[in-house]
Structure formats: C-alpha cells, structure tokens
Amino acid sequence: MDKIAVTGVGAVTPTGDQVNLIIEKIRNGQFLDQIEIEQFNLKDYINKKGLRTIGRSAKIAIASTAIALEGHENSQEWNMERVGVFVGTSLSYLDEVYDFLDDAANSGAKYVSPMRFPNTVLNNISGWVSIVFNIQGVNNTLQTGITSPFDAIDMAKTYLENDIIDHALVIGVDGVGKGSSYNKKMLGDGQFPEHAATIILERENEAISNYGYIDFISSWQEFEHNSNISNKRLNTIFEKYALSDVNHIIFGSSNENDAFIRSYFEDRASINQYKLHSYTDDTMFLPGMLKVLLALEQKSNSMIVETNQIGNKSILILSSEGVV
C-alpha cells in the first residue's frame, strides 16, 4: 500500500496566513495573542460571487484551502471527480444555529431567512468548499471535538488507501462567534484562536513533492479515567510501530490525561530520544491541524497525542525527515 504524503498546506489564523510565520509565532509563544482574525475578507483569497451570506467557519475554510491549492504544483490538472474534502470542526456550528434562531426570534420563525438555514446544517463547511473548488469526489464533515481534525485525516487516508479518490483536502476549522463563545465562557473552557488549516493528502505515487508522510493514525475511547484502556491501546500500537523511530512528541491537552501520557512515554526506555519542547508541552490552545503543521515543520518523525476530558483520544505519527 502506498504511503500517504502531505503535498500542500495552507492556514488562516489571527496571527497571519503564512504557514512559516504562523509556526514561528507558535514557537515564540505568540500564537495566543489574538483570538479573532481581524479584517478578514474572503475576496482577498478567492474571487467568487454568492459567498456573502455563508458562515464564518466556511469562509475561513475556503481561504485556507485556496492557499493550500495555490501552493500545490499540479492541482490544476486534477480530475475533480477523484478529489475529496474532509472537514474536522467542533463548536463552530453553534454560531450559525444562534444566528438562525436570532433571526427567527426577530423576524418570526415563519419568516426566517432561507439563506441562513443551510449554514446551520453541520456539513455546510465541506459543502461550500466542495462547491467553491468544484470538488466532486466526496465531501465529509467530522465532529469529534478537538480530535475532529485527526478523524478527518483518518477518513481521508481510508478513502485514498482504498483508491476511492486520488487527492484529499483535509481541513481543521473553527470560527469564533456568539454561540461557541457563549458556550466556552459558561463552561469555563479556554477559547481556541479562530483558525482554518488545510493539508492536501495524496498517495506517494501521485505526489510531485511533499512536506511529509502520515505514517500512523489511530483513535480510541476511554470513558473512565485510569481504566487502563489507554495503556493497553498504546502498548498494542507500539507493538506494531517502532517507538524508537519517533523523535518528537507533541502532547498536552490541559486535562487529566496529560500526566498519564507523560508518564507512559517517560517510562519507555527510549525516552531520551524525545524532545518535549516547551512550546508544545501544553497544547490545549493549539488547534489540532496547526499541531500537524508544527510537526511537519520539525523535519523529523513526530507524534501528536490529542485527548479530551470526555473520552476521545487520538494519536498521529508524521515523518518529515529529509523532505523538502
């Protein structure tokens, strides 16, 4: 089976839309300085009519995808029936639901704008990306909280490996709006910076140049803390995958799982091979797809472990050693 290569990247964040500069700011600890993307204008990224009323998350997803495609060497030649889009998002849907219900309250439910309703449907982001870029292979949206981008990568990899598509646009996106902000504030959850990050995945034989490879991805559930499930799961994973090949670990989700993850990897004999960078040691506020960009930038083999308190766990291993 061909390896899956990352052949394009793009991102739009409050700290800019150039991937190398975004990574620099993450490393310098400046990424959290701003939460919202100020003066965002979709027309700066794509010249297409009819997008004024679409949701914020769909707009920034389109922008980051436009950047990724623009930097790709041969996307103009793709057979669009063999291209898929895979979106991972979390609470952004609430912004559109609250806007819709505001409108219903103000105008009356009978007269609510028909333009707003499609934005409330959870897959509107992948739908709009598909329409704007004429993607005809498949469009999918995943909603597994902060592990959503990893599920989107996993699903894209499945479609590529089984030869259903040749090219996958995988997007991690979360806009900031009234619904998501209210929920996070009330729950005392931290605020993710608004962001969209897109990676292009292709089978190695289709890739002209690449940023790295998706070597391994897996997810599992641990619905009770300290139930030993994660321990068993990681043991099974590292029976198949040589842990000694990993140079970097990016983990830390500001929850009870962090101590377990740290101790699991510290207990392994090969721990000296890891570099637990200060800027990646507490990554709760660094969205998953930006962690992927950070890992690719390491130019080595990196492992990302992402968890949340309610039970979802994901592990992704990327290799970017020696790639240009």
């Binding site: 639901v97 009356g108 592990t147 599920d151 699903m155 209210y182 729950l187 997810s219």
Partner: protein, 396 residues
C-alpha cells in the same frame, strides 16, 4: 480484503422500535406521522411530523445516565441495544468494536441554550456539555463499555450511509472484527423552521414520487447495523442478514441545498457503487430510494434511476411512512434493505395515488411486494451536495 456481513440491526422510528416491530409496520404500510408536539416549537405551518412519541429512554439507558444525556444519544443507545440483541452479541464480545455515527443536527441543545444566551442567563453546565456533539459518541461508549475508535460524521441526510461506509472499510481492511454503524437525529426545531422556509414541508402526508407530492415531513429516530468480519461471525454462529458488497460516493459541487438538475452527483455515486461492488445495473433487485417527497429530489432521483436501471427495478421510499429522520434516515433504510434480503419482500411507498411523468419508476405503490431480493441498493443524498450509495447482497 475481508468479507463484511450484517449480523444485527436495530431501530427507533415513528412506526416502531426494534427490527421486527419496525419491519412488520413497514410491510403493512403503517404511517408514523402525527401532530408535532415539542416544547418551545412554534408551529409555523405544517402540523405533522414523524416523532417517536412512545419512545421511553429509561427502557434502554442505565439510570445513572438517562437524565443527563441528550435525546440524540438516547435514541442512538436504544437502537444499538436493539442491534446487539438482534446480533446475539454479548458484552464480552463487543467491547473493542468501533463506532461510527451519522447525524444531521446533533443534539439540538443549541435551541435551548440560545434562549438562555438571548436572555443573558447562565445555562446549566451539563446542558452546555451536550453541545459538544462528541458526547453522543461518548455516552454510547459509556453505556456499552466500548473502547474502540469512534467518529461522529455530520454529513446531513446521507450521514448514516457514510457511517456505514466507514465501518465497512474498517472491517474490510482487517482493522476491526466488529463495527457499529448508526445514524441518529432528534426532532429539530431548526430543521422544521428551515425546511418550512424552503417550502420543502408537506402540509399533511409525505407522497414520494407522486404527481401531487408536496414535500417531506421532519422526523426523528435512530438506526443501527452491526457489521462483522464474515469468518468471525461464522465462528460465533451469528445470524447473518446480508453481506455488504460495496459503496459509491460523490459530491455535486453545485448548490448547498438543491440537487444537480441533471442528477450528475446522484448518477455518479450510483455508478461508482455498482463499479465498486463489481455488478451491473441488471443485478440490482431492489432500490431503497432517498425519496424525500420534495419535487426536486424525487425528480432528480427518478431521472438517475431511469437512466441507469430503466423503469422496472422496484424502488420504494420508506420516508412515506416514517417521515425524514435526517442523519438517521439512511441507516434505517439500510436496515430495511437487509431485512428485505432476509425475508425476500420489499416495503411499499405509501400515499401514492397519481403517476408523475417526471418519475417514471416502479415505486412499489402502497403494498409490500414479495420478490427475489439478492442485491439491494440504498441511496442517500444530502445538503452540501454529498451523495452516498451502499449495496447489500444475500450472503452465500
């Protein structure tokens, strides 16, 4: 590649709970449409929908959870419980199973928390937690002690089929022995208001493919299929209802709510499904239609069916009985396909009175039909122009 079989199914629908009750009602052409009752909902026109009024979550969900979880998770847990029983799966056998769930609107808790937000009130923490849609998965995992991978696929009204595809690939590629594919959606006020504003809701009945069809009816429900690796299922003497043979997916890239007028995406997903399953159109004995009862969907879908299969392949829409249960719909329709293969009979499209020249298909009008069903195709199409077809066959 491994063979993938369906060993159990479960449903919660407006016409019945559990595979056999649902199937009896389906074959009898029973309607589950009733007057809508929902707290806080303004009736802005049509009064009817497909709610599961008799559903009692306490019959399915453990006490410690039942009052703390959303209706989407309750419906999901109930259909999974039915499916496990149907598949004769014991707790010690399904812990490692992977879970793939499709939904359109999720828990719809945003409808409640929005009014608190508007009134500048604090919301209960546990209510807000339900807005994190992955809780739907987590509660199902807690209820059954599942610790495999779990994905929430929010591909609108095709979500159930996408969940089934993901479960199928997981087993076919040898990464799992058992996978649970499901769809769930509670009755959503936002969907009701939105479809009403798009003039897509019928004032009374859902009449798919009828000349006088007036639209769909919003419903709720859940459907679940247990997919297993064939040899593993044989080893445990599992009942085998059907084998999953292949699938096809496509995107219209045309319009966020309307299908392509020449059914381009629909034709593409169907042809890909036939190709992926290595069969010809003539091999398909029955088609479970998306069949929403809207003018645009039924016209485009009929056009695609005519073009690929001609006019004589039996096609029915069980949405005529259940209403449109959104992300659950295609999972429930896959359940119907598997039971049609098991029992060699196909369900009807009820409320059919007048033929439409734009829908020249055999829609199995009003009465179930006994038939040799060796291969059944289930089509689903959704907002965002995402299309998914799955094919089941009799397991030899």
């Amino acid at each position: 590649m491994k063979r993938v079989v369906v060993t159990g199914v479960g449903v919660i629908t407006s016409i019945g709970e559990g595979a056999e009750n649902f199937w009896d009602a389906c074959l009898n052409g029973q309607s589950g449409i009733s007057e809508i009752k929902k707290e806080g909902l303004q009736l802005v026109g049509p009064k009817f929908g497909g709610q599961t009024h008799h559903f009692n979550p306490s019959n399915y969900v453990q006490k410690i959870l039942v009052n703390h979880i959303g209706r989407g998770a309750q419906l999901l847990i109930a259909s999974i419980r039915h499916a496990f029983e149907h598949a004769k799966l014991k707790k010690e056998e399904y812990g490692e199973a992977d879970l793939f769930v499709g939904t359109t609107m999720g828990e719809v808790i945003g409808e409640y928390t929005h009014s608190l937000y508007t009134n500048n009130q604090k919301a209960d923490q546990s209510l807000l937690e339900l807005n994190k849609l992955n809780n739907i998965l987590v509660y199902a995992c807690k209820e059954f002690g599942l610790y495999g991978s779990a994905m929430l696929i929010s591909n609108a009204c095709a979500a159930g089929n996408y969940a089934t595809i993901q479960a199928y690939e997981k087993i076919r590629n040898g990464n799992s022995k058992i996978a649970i594919a499901a769809g769930t959606d509670p009755f959503s006020s936002v969907a009701y208001y939105g479809f009403n504003r798009l003039n897509a809701i019928s004032p009374d009945k859902c009449r798919p493919f009828d000349k006088n069809r007036k639209g769909m009816l919003v419903a709720e429900g859940s459907g679940c299929l247990i997919l297993e690796e064939y040899q593993s299922a044989r080893q445990r003497n599992a009942p085998i209802l059907a084998e999953m043979n292949g699938y096809g997916v496509s995107a219209d890239a045309f319009h966020i709510t309307s299908p392509h007028p020449e059914a381009k995406g629909i034709i593409s997903s169907t042809l890909k499904c036939l190709h992926n399953s290595d069969i010809s159109p003539i091999d398909v004995d029955y088609i479970s239609a998306h069949g929403t009862g809207t003018n645009a969907n039924d016209k485009a879908e009929s056009m695609a069916i005519q073009k690929i299969f001609g006019e004589s392949t039996p096609v029915s829409s069980i949405k005529s009985m259940l209403g449109h249960s959104m992300g659950a719909a295609s999972a429930i329709e896959s359940v119907a396909c598997c039971l049609a293969i098991r029992d060699q009979i196909v369900p009807p499209t009820i409320n059919f009175e007048n033929k439409d020249d734009n829908c020249r298909i055999d829609c199995v009008p009003n009465t179930a039909r006994e038939l040799n069903v060796n291969k059944a195709l289930n089509n689903s199409y959704a907002f965002g122009g995402t299309n998914a077809s799955v094919l089941f066959k009799k397991a030899e």
